[in-house]
Symmetry: C2
Subunit: 405 residues, 2 copies
Amino acid sequence: MLQGKILVAQGGGPTAVINESLVGALTESRKFASVEKVYGALHGVSGIVNEDFIDLTQETSHNLERVARTPCSALGSTRDKPDAKYCKEIFKVLRAHEIGTFFYIGGNDSSDTLRILSEQAAAAKYPLRGIHIPKTIDNDLTVNDHTPGYPSAARFVASAFAGINQDNMALKGVYVGVVMGRHAGFLAAASCGCRSFKDDAPHLIYLPERDFNMKTFISDIKKVYGRLGRCVVAVSEGIHDSSGKPIASKLATAVERDAHGNIQLSGTGALADLLTSAIKEKTGIKRVRGDTFGYLQRSFLGCVSGIDRKEARQVGEKAAQFAHFLGRNGSVTIHRVGEYAAEYKLSALEAVAGKTKVMADKYIAKSNNDITAKFVDYLRPLLGPGMTPIGRLDPANRVRKILGK
Amino acid sequence: MLQGKILVAQGGGPTAVINESLVGALTESRKFASVEKVYGALHGVSGIVNEDFIDLTQETSHNLERVARTPCSALGSTRDKPDAKYCKEIFKVLRAHEIGTFFYIGGNDSSDTLRILSEQAAAAKYPLRGIHIPKTIDNDLTVNDHTPGYPSAARFVASAFAGINQDNMALKGVYVGVVMGRHAGFLAAASCGCRSFKDDAPHLIYLPERDFNMKTFISDIKKVYGRLGRCVVAVSEGIHDSSGKPIASKLATAVERDAHGNIQLSGTGALADLLTSAIKEKTGIKRVRGDTFGYLQRSFLGCVSGIDRKEARQVGEKAAQFAHFLGRNGSVTIHRVGEYAAEYKLSALEAVAGKTKVMADKYIAKSNNDITAKFVDYLRPLLGPGMTPIGRLDPANRVRKILGK
């Protein structure tokens, strides 16, 4: 039974719809008469040890709906990864505030935090109900068909490449777009989301699931450019050589790492610049441009998949329901049924925590530089309705040359 | 009178709504019984000399409406700047195809191309009616209150910074976003478009209208960071030192220039990386991130201002009407009336061609690192309706600490 004081927190990188999950967990919890209050911790677990709580029960419904539609974590986030000592501090605070249920909205690092916390709570005989609510634009959580946040980020990446495709047709050349994704290429693969004409971009897609080889990369680009007179490339920021060393880390003079040991890949244009320089040098093509999509892809105002918004709200609501009706710890997971609907389950924390899902082989083309039709089938329903359809002038209406140079 | 064969072309950097102008000029021209055909030249003036024409009269209305809503130049674009010899080639082709009217959709470089072409036509006694249809995301055309393409790009930049503001609140640090704009800061200034709470980003805005000084920049950031524990900065790619030398060019090992002598500023993350490195080094702040908005801001699918869409269509329509009813060469210009409506005039080509408008002093804060309330008044109506409103949790509902560390 869900009862007493509930605590909600958000961890890891923000998404476009993470506040939908916050509002879903809050509003659904409040439907149970046994729930006294719902607190929000500011900046994830760090807000718990600092007793930085907001009483969400005092929020107006109208404002909550507005918050739900605002991108990024309204409670703030953290990259902290609690160890045994850190967890002791958390227990002290949870005890003092008589909090019995903790909803943590986050990715695999956040679910691992919750797993450690649950173990520590059990060892300390503190009756903590812990439910992990999934989110991550990387789409790399196991068990889940996909994770809230990914569809909206995928919609951003697909929309960006749809526009870049038009731009690159108008002013020809080579374009490289670097997309987020450390270990999993789902987001870079979403660059294909709006392809419809035969020569539509991206023409090449490089994923961290495959080793990256500069010679093959240059040769691939030459082939496409020779055929179309242009070439648009999507590259995952996590691409690495055959020894597993990230291509981006080959450049960084001082590599920055977070508490989880992850090196900084985003927030710098270095990888795109390295790749465009190599292309210019090795192909002799003059107009070579590169963009790093950076933080825009996870926080851009107004680029949201309707499917994602709905599911993000529902995983929050289901967390409250599972806590009440099932009465056990776990991670809310999303499962695909039919063409297309989502079902929600409560899976064991251990099945999700700290694990990383990468793209299945069936989604990656044998050439290692593209995705398959199966991936398009997987992606399309997630992008949501209302994408602008692309129009082209009819090339059949070419006027016969008179001077005919 | 508008009659015979009409030619339309698109030049310069694409925008989100440039095809609205193409379709407007085409459909309005076809309303005049005296018009025989409307051709489109592929890739601007280069398509004329190569006789690369499409007969737009054979397009279906349904497809044209779809093309109008597709970002970037459907006819393709060019950076070519015709000289006397190039113009001679153009005349040959126009004569051969019996084209009497040329609509050129573009920025100040394209209007200058049309001015040169008009002079050459007059000298060669070729009866050419030339009308320039404005577009540029830089918003740097003289005479015009603003130019089609700017409102949508401004909406992109405002939406990006609205999201980045939330992201930076969730995970604190310093963020630098580099925005397009070589000589005019209008697009970087649009980063303020969604500011509503007192501490909303961007906290600092640097424009090419003012000299950039690295020491002042670092000191400005330290002040904001000291006050808020975070800092979001918008920087125009065209910022330069007191000698006029672009900060970006200080880095480039091999500077790339187009036919108009412009150096390449976009398509590389170098400026953002230079600035974030300097901030890290000089302030000791650890979490410093930078993004270069690059080509996304002019071509992103689905980020369009409704006002921009309407005006881009209308300047195309007005070009056909002015050519028919006024019967003289010129540039269609946009004028602001009331709060807010647009009026269209036919101005002399010489008033617009090759000239650059920069931001007026009244729009730039005395501190040189922000914009004024007058600029906000100027910008807001252009962004168009339907921006997602931002919601925040009420900070008044803080829970009293019990352990009170």
